[in-house]
Every structure is written in C-alpha cells, then in structure tokens.
Symmetry: C2
Subunit: 305 residues, 2 copies
Amino acid sequence: MNDNNVSNHSRREFIASVSSVLGAISFMPQSSSAGIDFKVPVAKMTIKQVIDLILTTIPGAPFKETVDTIKSGDERQEVKGIVTTMFATADVIQRTAALGANFIIAHEPTFYNHRDETTWLDNDQVFQFKNDLLKKNGIVVWRFHDYWHTHRPDGVLMGVLTKLGWQNYYNAENPRMVVLPAMTLADVMKHAKKSLGIRQVRFIGDPKQQCKRIALMPGAAGGRSQIQALQAEKPDVLIVGEVAEWETAEYIRDAQSMKLPMSLIVLGHAESEEPGMEWLVSWLQPKVPDIKVTNVPSHYPFKEA
Amino acid sequence: MNDNNVSNHSRREFIASVSSVLGAISFMPQSSSAGIDFKVPVAKMTIKQVIDLILTTIPGAPFKETVDTIKSGDERQEVKGIVTTMFATADVIQRTAALGANFIIAHEPTFYNHRDETTWLDNDQVFQFKNDLLKKNGIVVWRFHDYWHTHRPDGVLMGVLTKLGWQNYYNAENPRMVVLPAMTLADVMKHAKKSLGIRQVRFIGDPKQQCKRIALMPGAAGGRSQIQALQAEKPDVLIVGEVAEWETAEYIRDAQSMKLPMSLIVLGHAESEEPGMEWLVSWLQPKVPDIKVTNVPSHYPFKEA
C-alpha cells in the first residue's frame, strides 16, 4: 500500500478498475514522496479483492473445478504486498516476509501434489515446517495456474515469448506455434539459455537441424497434450518445461529414427514458466498501483554432476 | 533356439521347469557345437509359453489388472530369440531383427503412454512407422513391468543393486533401503555414474553431505510414493530414475531449507532401470537354455547443451 510514486493517472485507473469489483473503498492518509503532507485517497484492498479483480479478466471465471485455490492463510486480510513466483518454496516465503508482503501468487502447487491435498502430509515434518512458516508470517498463498493459462494471451506463454524476445511472433490464432526465421537447433538452444537465464537444457535431435516452426509449450502439459501438438503442428522443434521420459521423449526418439526433422528441448519446469510470473508483475501492477508487486523467482532446484 | 553350448544339466532343468507349464513339448534335430550330428531333444516353445513360464515365478500372477500385456504380434508363434530392454524403441526393434530374435520383453510402454492406448495414435505417422516395423519383422512385444517389480526380489531393484555392486546390502525386509558405510553425496554420485554408465546425474543437496542410509527407487514411482518413502525412511539420500519436478523435487528443496540432511539424485528413467532388464537375462537364460536371451539397452535419449 506504500508506493508513493504512483501517478494520479494510474491511481485513477486503479480506482476505476477496482470500483467494479469492490463493494466499498476505504481511504487512508498518505504522504507524498516530496514529504508534503496532504490527503490522497488510497484504497485498502483485501487479498480476496485482488483475486476477484484478477478474475474479472479471465474468460469464464470463476471456474467450478480448478486447482487455483487458497493454499494457506485468510484472504480477507488487507494486502500489504504481492509476490509472484513459480513455486512458493520455503525460501520464497522467507523472502516474501522480508519484503513485508503477505500475498504470494504461485503458479505451481505449494504442497508437492497437483491438488495440494494435505491429509497425507499431516504428520510430515517438511509440510509442518512450511505450513508454520506461512502461518508465522501471516502469508496467504493463492495458486494462479488454470486462470493464468486461460487468460488471452496465456500469461505464461506471453511471459516466455517476451523474455525470449519473440513476442512479435505471437499468433493469437495458434498461440503455441512460433514461426521464426530459420536457425539451427543449436542456436535455438543457445538463445533460449541466454535469454531465459538457464544453465543447461536437455535435448533430443541434431544440433545442426534447421528450425523455423517452433511449438512452445512451457510447463509440463503431459505426454498426450505434447504429442498431440506434435501430430497437429509437425513442428521442427518442441520446446517444453518438463516431460515424462516414457511419453514425449520416446515419441521424439522414434520420430528421429524415421528421420523426421522433429526435435525436443526440455528447459526445466520452473525455468520455463517463471517468465510468466515475471510478466504477471507488469500486467498486475497497473491494476493495483498502491500495492507493490514483486517477482521472486524460485529458480531451477537441480544441479548437475 | 540355437545355443548349442547349453549343458545337459541346465537343459534338464529347463525341460523339468517348462514341463509344468507346457501342454506338449516337441523335438527337433540339433547339431552339437563339435559338429558331430546326433539327435538331442530340444523343446520348441511359443512366446506365450515363455511368458507363462515367467509368470509361474511371480507371486499372485496372473494379475487381473496389469499393463503387462502383449503390445504387438502373435504370441502363439515359436520363439526364435528373446531381447530384454527398457524401451522397445525403433532402434531396439531393428537390432532385435538383426539378431534373428522375435520376442522383445520391454519394461516400459511401447506407444508413449502407460496403458499403451493406441486409438488416439491411429493416424499418427510415428506410431505407424513403429507398428509397421514390428509387423514387418514379426516381432512380439510384451511388457514386463508390474510382474517384474512383484517378483521377489524385485527384478529391477536387484539388477540395479547388482550393477552398483551393492547386492550384498539387499534387505528383503525393507528392499528399498540400502545401508552402506558412510560416503559423501559426491562419492555416491560418482560411484552411481561409473557403475551404471551414466554421463550425468541431476541432484539437490550438498555434495559434501555424509550418506549412509540410501533409499533406492529406480524408475518413476510417482511423487506420492517417493515422498512417502522419504517420510517413512528419512534416508540421507533418495536415488530415483525420474521425478515430476513439482512433487519430489520441491519436497526435497523445502527439506533442505529446514536443514534436513535429505538429498535427491535423479539418474534418468531409462538408465535407472535398464540394469533390471540386463539382470533379467541372467535370471531367464537358465530357464530357457535353448533360446538366446540378449539385453539390448535402449539408453538415455537426451543430450545436454
């Protein structure tokens, strides 16, 4: 609530945009950045109101069935600051508390399974540690997965495209396909690693293969979705976050055996979608100009040996 | 059927062991390796009879529900040679044909999904290529997954233990746990890479951590199974073939944040279980001494860049 450098213009937009969502707006005194005391209206928002504001932009929201639920904390509390991230890791939670924020918008599960079921974890020391850390710091975690992918453009995809510098190749008719000037598979990997800040990628294919038609599917869409994209698009290369090794990887291996020019690049799940949570900052910040929105990347957890 | 170097002893064992399974045994002429012609009884076996023979050793077999079904070909044909492998890749199929064999025992799916459903692949060019390759060469593929893991000892686990040189640490009471003289995580990785022939592993943890209690779960048991093993055993390190990055990897990452000495090594799915299909050769060959059994490894499909 303490960003004093917000222009009147964006503040007006903010109030206009939240007015349709919020039942009531309260006002609090605030100082200007020049130190001169005068009163400006600042809306206090609850975390729930931020979520509701986001949902007004998502086609078909709210969904009856979704994993995008509150994972911890009470969303009726006033929002003090927002952190976006791929995974609400213990480290991300601690960094959120250090920022004075109390609302984590995480793309992926908090408790190690897609539906964040926790009954099986009740007596688990790692679960308890994380849960205590959240409670102690009064932090609310909300998952923003199904909704963000449903947004048009898909927020994750647009984040990755933007970070790759490929945003001008976005095709609303067929978002997962990017058609670029031809470059070698080696150059695609080099570019992806450099622009996304990835230490190493895994791949199947010939580094010298010419690639022009790229299927870009950040995250782990599942073997069938990934293979159906390969069937439908016949791309030169499929770029994903993660695969099940017995599914997409084996399909590509057989495709290579029949000399199809169809390769696979695996970026790593966290690295492949964090740009979408970084892009969320630029998308969300103008909508809530009085609340500081920060991306705290969770990073790829593995090292290689 | 052409291994002439089989001892009378093992041949007798073979006939005794298959007699309980086979309805009838036929005889064919065969030459000795010294080139002197004389008649010895050699059982002709169908592929189905080999499978039935294997199943006599599996507790509770046959299972009502299992993915261990015939994936291609007619199992009533005479077996000419057996290949064991992790994945019946197009390359493995071609190498099987070159060996004159017609029966592939594969641990993992042939058609890119756990249940080997193929309706969705009917018009798929990669599926058709592989299917044609199997048919053209008259090769039968049978999956040996659920049964091999149910065998006591678990055939995959024992294969990996043996290749790691840790077979004497096998504990029938708690097979997934291996308790070794303490060594650093770095040394565990170095040893696993060298003995299993793996180019690179991925890990989460401190290479200097002392490891003594190792949970060894080759393959991709799934996040919940892997995490439940961590809960129950509290090992120093969990070694797996593959993880879903949003499940086990994140649990370990949070465990590390709370300073638990609990690390993770990911070997790669194919590399982690191929030793179990290699061990199958030494297990199966004495049971079918007249049939050549060969392991054709499918290897890890990825390269790194």
